[in-house]
Each structure stands twice: as structure tokens, then as C-alpha cells.
């Protein structure tokens, strides 16, 4: 009852001094708006990064042969990578297929797939008369092809002999079929396709067509996107004249029940103890996606927090502005305070009246700030080409925070008003 009355009095006061009220609120508006905008951008980036990494495979471990760090201490995240060049990598430093087989046999429950891939050159182009399609030739090993689980629309996937004998076969997207063969898969199957990669021509027989799925975070939609033309891994190695005995980079897909952080250490130790203890220059490093993701999130969170704190300073400045205007208002209304006291207002009700007024100022400023911040943040994220993720949590915090500022910076002036001697206040001119 008294509360509603106080709010109404506060609103009437704000309305009577609109310019002054707006200027007072400005600090709060700017402060809250910047915090909300920063939170919105930060949250959006975090969710984008996370979902990208999720797509890359949150259950994955990235494993690679890297130069030993100078202090001979293997690092989880590989940040010591490249701290000193010793010698070039040789066949003896690579991980061979036999080593992988043994490794798989050692941890049959944890390892689902060991992914290998090899690109053949950069972007290539398939031309057929006036029709053309952009492709990237990429070799997948059997594990990788199974893991990617492409939806075969026509024809078949790769057979064991395709891999073993490095057959010159390929699987293309329906997008390519649409562009080159007018969408007629029967016309495409069995055809020999020629790809021009920077002037070098590669040709493969089409054995299958799979469904093209647009990448989630590509900018815009092109009618001639670069699609993957998949060939067997061995075929890609031959195309690249890659005669190394092994490889130096793999992605491990682990089973759902595997604790990736622990397993990363196990894998690293397994290879380094069995194969690399005597290696003078190279060792194996393993990074789990989860730990990378956590690191990334921590980093974004820290940046976000730092920026918010800086923005928060303007909130404090805004709060001081509110306190200042409250002191002015109380001086102006000394006589009113005296009258209210003569009419029976207790110190408590005077204090409540002015705290309410200060909270109302901050709350209105806060709400304007939230609206502004959400708009700014959303626009910023949209300009970066992503979907904005406004966090309800930060809005609730902002509302609470602006109320707290109102109470904190309103208390001193309100208390001063409450303690006014009624006679002095009445006599005030």
C-alpha cells in the first residue's frame, strides 16, 4: 500500500524532471547495456564454438607425432610445440599401420575408430562441357568412412578391396550429380570423372552417390559449393606420391564410456613408452576435444568477465550519479520531508520512500539498458553471421543488479532524509 504510493510518487517525480531523470539514468543505461551486449556476444560465441567442436567430435582425441619439447616434458595441450627444431621427420618417426593394429588390440573397449584422411591438392574442379562443379578430393580410410556415416543415395560405399588395392574409385555428392549429370544418378554411376586440381588431372570411377549436407557454419549459400569427392585413403596416398611408411596425425574416436582426459594420457604413455622412448626428436602428443573445449570456454569466459567488469565500472559511476541526484532531490524537497513528518511519517517510511525512488530510477534505467544491450548484442552477433543467444540469466542478473545499485546508492541519501529534524525541515526555504 505504502509501497505502491511510493512508486507512484517516484514516477511523478521522474516525470516532472524528465531531462534530469534521463541524464541520471544514462550511466545505468550505458552500464547495463554494455554488460548485456558483452554477455550476449560472449554467450553466442561460446555456443558457436561448442557446437562446432561438438560437430568435430567431442568424443575425439587428436593424436599426433610432434617434436619433443626442449625441457623433455610432454605437454597435454601441445603448447610447447615447436619450441626448438631438431631435425626433419623420417619414416622411423611415423606411426605405421602395424603399430595402430597393436594399439587397437591393446585398448579394444576404448577405441571405436582411428580416423585418417588425406587431401589431394587444394580445391579442384570437375568440368563437363559448359557444366562445372567445385570439389575437394579427399581420401578416407575405412574407419573414417564408417565414422562419417555418409548417406549413400545410389550405388555403393567402398569395399575392402577398394582400400587394399587402392582402386581409383570415388563417391560423389548428389550436388555434383545435379550439376554435372542433371541429377541423373544412373548416368553418373560407373562414369569416369576427371578433376582438375591446379592443372593436374585426376580421374576416378564413380561407384556411389551420397547426400550433400551443407556445413553448419558456412557463410551464405552458394549454388556451387565445394563438395567432397571421397576416394579410398590408399588411393589418395598414391595420388600424392606419398610413400611414407606411416602417418603422423590421427583422430581417435573413443567409446562413449571412455573418460577422454584419462585415456589421452594412457594413449600418450602407450606410444611414448613403446615406440618413442629412444627417439631423440619426436614423441606422440594427445589432446582431447573436451579439454580443448574447456580451455576455450574458460578463455572466452575470462575475456567476457574482464570486459563485463570494465563495463561494470560505468554502472558504479551511474550509481554515483543516482546518489548525487537523490541528494539534490532531498535538498529540494526538505520542506516536503518536514511536512510529511508533521503529518506522521516515521523515519522508516521517509527512508523507504527515497530508497524506492532511487530503485525506481535504477530499475527503469536498467530495463532501458537491457533492451539496448540485447539489441546491440544481437546486431553484433548477426553482423558476425551467427545466431544470437541472449541469456535470460544475464537479464535477471542485470535487473537484480540495477535494483541493488538503487538500494546501495539510495540508502545514504534516504537515510539523510529520514534523519532530518522536522522543525528544521519545515522551516527550510
Amino acid at each position: 500500500m505504502l509501497f505502491t504510493e511510493n512508486v507512484l510518487v517516484a514516477l511523478a517525480g521522474l516525470k516532472a524532471n524528465i531531462m534530469r531523470s534521463l541524464l541520471t539514468m544514462l550511466g545505468i543505461i550505458i552500464g547495463i547495456a554494455s554488460v548485456i551486449a558483452i554477455m550476449t556476444v560472449g554467450n553466442s560465441i561460446t555456443s558457436i564454438v561448442n557446437s562446432t567442436m561438438q560437430d568435430l567430435g567431442a568424443n575425439n582425441l587428436e593424436m599426433g607425432v610432434m617434436q619433443k619439447s626442449r625441457d623433455n616434458k610432454a605437454s597435454d595441450s601441445g603448447e610447447n610445440y615447436g619450441s626448438g627444431y631438431v631435425r626433419e621427420m623420417t619414416d622411423n618417426d611415423l606411426i605405421t599401420e602395424d603399430m595402430l593394429e597393436a594399439f587397437k588390440a591393446e585398448f579394444p573397449d576404448d577405441i571405436k575408430y582411428i580416423l585418417k584422411f588425406e587431401n589431394v591438392g587444394d580445391k579442384g574442379k570437375v568440368t563437363e562441357g559448359s557444366k562445372s562443379a567445385n570439389v575437394q578430393i579427399i581420401g578416407y580410410n575405412k574407419d573414417n568412412f564408417e565414422f562419417k556415416d555418409k548417406k549413400i543415395l545410389a550405388g555403393r560405399g567402398f569395399l575392402n578391396r577398394d582400400y587394399e588395392q587402392a582402386k581409383k574409385v570415388c563417391i560423389v555428392t548428389d550436388k555434383l550429380v545435379e550439376r554435372i549429370y542433371d541429377g541423373d544418378v544412373n548416368k553418373a554411376l560407373g562414369q569416369e570423372i576427371e578433376v582438375n586440381v591446379g592443372g593436374i588431372y585426376y580421374s576416378y570411377y564413380i561407384v556411389g552417390v551420397y547426400e550433400y549436407v551443407q556445413e553448419q557454419f558456412s557463410f551464405g549459400v552458394s549454388d556451387n559449393p565445394t563438395t567432397e569427392l571421397i576416394i579410398p585413403y590408399e588411393t589418395a596416398r598414391i595420388a600424392n606420391h606419398n610413400q611414407n611408411k606411416g602417418d603422423y596425425y590421427f583422430t581417435l574416436v573413443t567409446s562413449v564410456n571412455t573418460n577422454n582426459d584419462e585415456f589421452a594420457t594412457k594413449v600418450r604413455d602407450y606410444f611414448n613408452i613403446n615406440y618413442y622412448s629412444r627417439n631423440d626428436a619426436y614423441e606422440v602428443m594427445v589432446v582431447s576435444m573436451t579439454s580443448m573445449m574447456n580451455q576455450m570456454n574458460t578463455m572466452i569466459g575470462a575475456i567476457q568477465l574482464a570486459l563485463s567488469v570494465i563495463a561494470g565500472i560505468s554502472l558504479v559511476v551511474g550509481g554515483i550519479g543516482v546518489m548525487n541526484i537523490m541528494l539534490v532531490s532531498i535538498t529540494e524537497r526538505t520542506k516536503e520531508i518536514g511536512t510529511r513528518k508533521a503529518l506522521g511519517a516515521t523515519n522508516g517510511s521517509i527512508r523507504l520512500q527515497f530508497i524506492t525512488e532511487s530503485v525506481v530510477i535504477c530499475l527503469i534505467g536498467g530495463i532501458i539498458g537491457i533492451v539496448l544491450g540485447v539489441v546491440l548484442g544481437t546486431v553484433a552477433v548477426k553482423l558476425m553471421g551467427y545466431e544470437a543467444a541472449v541469456s535470460i540469466q544475464s537479464i535477471i542478473i542485470a535487473v537484480g543488479f540495477s535494483m541493488a545499485i538503487g538500494i546501495f546508492f539510495g540508502y545514504y541519501p534516504a537515510n539523510k532524509a529520514a534523519k532530518l529534524n522536522p522543525i528544521d525541515a519545515l522551516r527550510y526555504e
Partner: protein
Amino acid sequence: MEDNIMLDLRDIHKSFFIGTPNEFEVLHGLNFTVKKGEFVSIVGQSGSGKSTLMNIIGALDRPTAGEYTLDGIDIEKAKDHELSALRNKKIGFVFQTYNLIARTNALKNVELPMMYAGMGRAERTERAKMLLEEVDMTDRMHHNPDELSGGQKQRVAIARAMANDPAIILADEPTGALDSATGRMIMDIFHKLHEEQGKTIVLITHSPELSQETERIITLKDGNIIGEAAGNWNRATKEVE
């Protein structure tokens, strides 16, 4: 103490700047009583101490020494919040400068003391309307003070003073800022409240003519009561002689 005594002041002293070299005494031991239903005026020139006395009677200030009882309540023993409640329920203030709350319409101004008394919204609005009707301000009740004339403001102020049906109305130069015709109208309202509702009224004024309209005149000079006299008004004729 007699039951029909409203105000009882005994040996009231009031000093300012106590404990400093500037200490001085404004009231030098005043004694007087006001009966229930009495219309009394306190007259004095400026500097006579009448404002200080009014503050003490209105429980806005405490005497330095002496005993003051208002409607049976010992002011000296009351705590600050009890004084607030006392001012709220027992005293109706009417000021020379009206002291209406700005940006708050007449109706809300009249409701204010009832709000502080904790009365419900509907009840206090109804009572405020009734009080405004008594001072003939019904048609202006939704106007803010800056849209009202001096006489209208003072009428609203009187309605506000009556809000919690106080034991005493304390009017400090209520006509001081008004022209004589409007002042006459305000005085008539006080007479009406006195006669019809039997209100106890203490009128503080510097004007001897105005004081003649009351039942009893207490004259104050330099912090002392220098005389008490009957006024020209009396209940029987209801007229100023």
C-alpha cells in the same frame, strides 16, 4: 488531572545551542492548559517564542525542561516513533504556507496522513472525498497544488489536518498569506469545525484582531505569557461582538 483537559503545559522551558557559548533560552517556564473543545489563540509578535511554542505543542520538538501532556499522553516519555504516531493521529497541522505535497493532487494530499496511519486505500479515499466536500473542494480534488489558489490550498490543508480526526487542530498563521476575504472564509471553516464538531483548536497568530475571534487569548512576549483574556467570540451568540 481533569478529564476535560486537552493540553497541559507546566513550566515549559526551551533553550537552543545547549552547551555552547551561544546558548539562549527562548521559553522561560510557560504554564497553561487548553480544555477539550476550546478555541484558543496564542498571540505574539515575531520573536516572542510562539513558533517555538507551536513546535512543542505539535510534538515536533521537545521542551528542554517542564511537563507537557497532550490528551493524557506524556510527551517527554514518548519515543521518536511514538511522536510520529502522535502527530499522525492526535494533531492536525495547518501551516501559513499550506505545505501541500507538490505533484500530488488534493485528494492524495488529504489521504496522506491516513496512509501513514495504515488505513486501506478504499476507506481513505472515501474519507478524503468526504473531508474535501466539507471544505467545498470536491470539484478541484484531482488538481495538483500548483493549480489551486491560496484559499483553495488552505482548504485542502484543513481537510488534510482533519484526516485522522485529530484531538487538536494546530493552526500557525493560517490566514497570513491570504487576502482578507479569503482569510475570512478560512476562519469561518475553523469556526464551523469548532462549533459543529467540537474540535479543539489552537490558533497561533501575530494579529490581535484575529485572536479576538477565539474564546480565549494567550499573549506571549519574550518567552513569557504576559496575559490571558477572554476573546469576543462566545458560543451563545456565535458571533464576533
